[in-house]
Amino acid sequence: MRRVVAIANGKGGVGKTTLTAGLAGQAASEGRRVLVVDTDPQGNLGRDLGYGLQDGSSLSLAITHGLPVEVSRGVRDGLDVVPGGPALWDVGAAFTSRGARGASLPGLRPAVDRVRPEGIEKDYDLVLIDTPPGEPILQELVFAASDYLIIPTRSDEASLDGLVVVAQRFAAARTVNPDLTLLGVVLFGVRAGSTRLIKRVESALDETLGGAAPVFGTSIRYLESAAVDMRSRGLLPHELERVHHGDKSARINRLRKGVKVDTGDSLLSRDSSAARLAGDYTALAHEVLAAITERERRSRVEVAV
């Protein structure tokens, strides 16, 4: 059974795309079947997952005309992607013009529902949708098509203000999708060791959310060098950790042979920090999946009652 999870915030640069890629990669690496849908016209997900930039026209036409969407299969084991790109800018215009004529559009959910894993009978376990920050129509389309929402935020005021924007869009989207549920908020890009700051922001978030959803206990740490390594090589956090292991062996061999170390193409991040970052994503993925399981369990109980 697929669970469609949107990852959104009203502000850009809060880690939506990186978080989408990291969670998807982690879930797929643990044997789950995952589909990622990139609804961002910037199409930056391609950098995180290491596939070439695309124009997103297939997804755009699927939303506006109901055409079958093209899927990039096997981006990782168990991970397929519906790429985004600049053609998605057209979706807002299509909605405006058709709205003026009183015509309807298929929207995102039918397009996503038609995508099935290749070669196996079973469905995706998880569908993650990356959203653009500044495109209200695209974001509301995603909300109308999703079961759950995860909001990543940074610790600064502007990022927290993005919550207000996303809350209004969320509430508006529930008029067409009453099942949409806020799964939780993730604190993204915090410096390791800033315990006091994390506590303070978590407390502010709890107050802002008013008990509607939890702030996930795992936050994703800020590691510029690891971020650069991952995006420049199209690696996910757990893959960077593996690359570090391989890199370590090569360095030991160079030491044995007395070959001078060439720093030109070496990794910028440290293996210990890559391991900690990978650990963050692993823990967060487990927390998110456990939260979904818990919601489903509660749902089943309510249905049974």
């Binding site: 059974m1 079973k122 109308a144 209004q168 001078k260 170390v261 818990e294």
Partner: protein
């Protein structure tokens, strides 16, 4: 950060506070497929319902064809697979060893690399110095006119 000045958004997320505006896409969206609530019975899982509004108790219906496209293949989803069923308890060390945590600020391999790089520099300096001294020593008698 001033937590006291933050708005309470809980109502917007739970539905107890109405939105300030209606959905920008609500009017244009066609009939939407909403997956049925998860149930223990796999038959319930594959059922879908058509929903155009916030009706809390919709009847399960056969999945209608999506607007304007090829219908979704009728693929059995199988029994509900609990996503977090095999998840280790939170707080357990994941993706890193205790040693990695302890060595967060010390990369032993880098230390060794730098140590050998330093030795290499010392060796190079020694070699140059030794060659220079030897050369000077060899050329000294000639300079002093002892040998011709």
């Amino acid at each position: 950060m001033t937590p006291n000045s933050r708005p309470n958004l809980g109502g917007l997320f739970t539905g107890s506070t109405p939105p300030e505006r209606s959905s920008a896409v609500a009017a244009q969206l066609g009939p939407r497929l909403v997956t049925a609530p998860p149930a223990a019975d796999s038959k319930d899982v594959t059922a879908a319902r058509e929903s155009t509004g916030p009706s809390p108790e919709p009847e399960p219906e056969p999945e209608p064809a999506p607007t304007g496209g090829t219908p979704a293949p009728n693929v059995a989803s199988g029994p509900v697979r609990e996503l977090g069923a095999e998840v280790p308890p939170l707080g357990a060390p994941v993706g890193q060893s205790t040693v990695a945590v302890a060595l967060e600020f010390i990369d032993p391999l880098r230390v060794v690399e730098r140590y050998f790089a330093f030795l290499q520099v010392v060796l190079d300096v020694n070699r140059r110095a030794a060659i220079a001294l030897t050369t000077a020593a060899i050329s000294l008698p000639r300079r002093a006119g002892i040998w011709r």
